[in-house]
């Protein structure tokens, strides 16, 4: 239990939120993607990171030292889940990927949903930065003892 375990936990939070941000960017960028990279006509499936709490253990020494640390858990992105909702069918007969009936399968990306997600990710990121700054200030304050 030291200042650095607090900072590592916050760092894992920053990392997870960054990955979340990346998937959101990917979802927005691919909002109109109707094909996969190999050219097959499968629309983009929106991605969602699934987070899981992990016990912060970096080295053998820490495992020995931090027996009680199962309560201080970092976070990791365990998997990037694909949205299971069916693609949005848009009527657009002129589109090269349209079905004979004139419908195009579009990714199920909702810009409002992505924006809300983005704000949430940003707030979480900021909260982790504040937590890390707090630990840093405490550590610096502790260095003043005996000065």
């Amino acid at each position: 239990m030291d200042f650095f375990s607090s900072m590592r936990v916050s760092a894992s939070g920053l990392d997870a939120q960054t990955q979340r941000m990346n998937t959101i960017s990917s979802n927005i960028a691919n909002a109109e993607t109707t094909r996969a990279a190999d050219g097959s006509k499968t629309p983009y499936k929106r991605k969602d990171p699934v987070m899981a709490a992990t016990t912060d253990r970096e080295s053998f020494g820490e495992i020995l030292a931090n027996q009680m640390d199962e309560n201080v858990q970092g976070v990791m992105v365990q998997e990037i889940a694909e949205d299971t909702r069916p693609p949005r069918m848009v009527y657009n007969p002129a589109h090269p990927d349209a079905t004979p009936e004139g419908y195009v399968a579009m990714p199920h990306v909702n810009p409002v949903e992505e924006m809300a997600n983005m704000i949430s990710a940003q707030r979480s990121y900021e909260a982790n930065v504040t937590a890390m700054g707090s630990a840093k200030q405490m550590a610096q304050k502790a260095l003043e003892i005996g000065r």
Partner: protein
């Protein structure tokens, strides 16, 4: 440190517990988006009281030399538990970000206060061991 002044030992314990509290809050903030994660809580006052109670038991046992049983005050492991008052969101998470940030700010201020007191204690010790601080 306890040999000098029991207050120094108490402040030391307080700093350790404040650090644990900070770690718990940081873990909660990091896991604010983890489905099913339950916010953790540490009862600082209770933990400090337990720790200081151990300090009180640091008395001389018997009268033989070396019978002062030294048990460091930070030997007490603070109890960390799932916050029973947390409100569960749709994904089963009970972290309240605002509450955690407030707890962290409070914790940091009180940590700084303990450090200031410790600095004063050390300054007083220095003053005493330099016989009033004058250059002779």
């Amino acid at each position: 440190m306890d040999g000098f002044d029991p207050i120094i030992g108490a402040l030391n314990t307080s700093l350790n517990l404040r650090l644990t509290n900070q770690n718990v809050a940081a873990a909660n903030v990091a896991n604010a988006d983890t489905p099913g994660y339950k916010a953790k809580k540490m009862d600082f006052e209770l933990a400090l009281r337990d720790a200081l109670a151990i300090g009180d038991r640091l008395q001389v046992e018997g009268d033989a030399v070396g019978h002062i049983v030294h048990q460091p005050t930070d030997a007490v492991e603070p109890v960390i538990y799932d916050d029973p008052n947390g409100i569960e969101s749709l994904d089963g998470n009970t972290v309240d970000r605002a509450k955690e940030m407030a707890a962290m700010a409070e914790n940091q201020i009180l940590y700084d206060a303990s450090v200031e007191m410790l600095k004063k204690k050390v300054a007083m010790l220095k003053y005493a061991i330099t016989e009033g601080g004058g250059n002779r």
